[in-house]
Symmetry: C2
Subunit: 191 residues, 2 copies
DNA sequence: CCTACCGATCGGTAGG
DNA sequence: CCTACCGATCGGTAGG
């Protein structure tokens, strides 16, 4: 929470609201109120409501890539790396729930241009996962009949968490991550 | 496609539009146009836009339960049954894409009452999967450290399909189902 | 950042 | 099922 200016507060408020109610159901008046200003004043800081969405997706993409990306090149074999990546990915979901939700949901209510950019950012992130899956396949530690299908299966399972996990529930995110790492390694026949 | 009255046509149109654009971004004028009438005339057949949503969720829940439910009591051991259920589940997603999408997405733009009912229907459906998972655990054919976590993992992976599968792509839904059955059985250490 | 407001569009209704 | 319309609310702007 370094420099926290008004613009950041607006984006933060929008992320929470988009995550909770969806893009369309969130009004610029909701966002302004949450940020402590009036809706007209919002436009001194942003161009459009849709730009706000894009900014959230970009920051979330950075969160995920920043947490998971460096792990691809760290020491360790593919199963170990994948375990770290899963923990990091679920960690971001846990710490940045609202941002993650906006980022992971392909919101169909937006303009094509916005959706294309959001999709591009997600695809770029997915390549990190491909890299490690391929590494494990090359080393013979992962068994996959169809790599891209397997990646989709795994990432869908992981991202599903955002639909049911609530902090303070029966399991901590770390406990969930421990379980999920095991399940994913089973999928890959790696244990 | 038995009796196909105007009301059914309206619900069908709404399902396609809600799936494509979301509940909020779909207007009653969109729905009416798709059904070939004017928006005011819609209200001779429905009470509110939200009722339309509920009706779609109810029919989709019936689709899934009708296709998967009977398989729980059929002949065969748990792994065989689970394989059949996965194929049936993906079959519904394939044949009733729009309905499935509306049903599977917990739309946060709706009233509490509506969301509670939709959640109830989804929970009821999930119990079918719990039954078979428990059967496999009892027979020693499935290995799970945490049954409910494993169910969430598996169903998230399966339902993720609705976000990427498009008919006419590289793989048929049957081919995807074949792969996914194998991956799920691996998760359960059942092969 | 506020006041004051815009044109457009929304879900839904009355009366036929 | 249409015509005609309602009050409310929407994203965004002008002028300060």
């Amino acid at each position: 929470m370094a420099r926290k200016n008004r613009r950041d507060a607006i984006i933060e408020a929008a992320a929470e609201l988009f995550a909770a109610k969806g893009f369309r159901a969130t009004t610029v008046r909701d966002i302004a109120e949450e940020a402590g200003i009036l809706s007209g004043s919002l436009y001194a800081h942003i161009a459009t409501k849709e730009d706000l969405y894009l900014e959230i997706v970009r920051r979330a993409a950075q969160d995920f890539s920043g947490a998971v990306g460096p792990l691809v090149d760290e020491r360790g074999d593919a199963p170990v790396k994948l375990g770290r990546m899963i923990r990091a990915h679920l960690g971001v979901i846990d710490r940045s729930r609202a941002w993650a939700r906006v980022y992971l949901d392909d919101d169909s209510e937006l303009s094509e241009a916005t959706r294309v950019e959001a999709r591009r950012l997600r695809r770029e992130y997915e390549r990190l996962w491909d890299a490690v899956l391929q590494e494990g396949m090359a080393s013979g530690q992962f068994l996959m009949a169809d790599e891209s299908l397997t990646r989709l299966f795994i990432l869908s399972a992981l991202n599903g968490i955002i639909r049911w996990y609530r902090p303070g529930g029966r399991l901590s995110i770390e406990a969930v991550a421990d379980h999920y790492v095991q399940l994913v390694l089973r999928v890959l026949k790696a244990d």
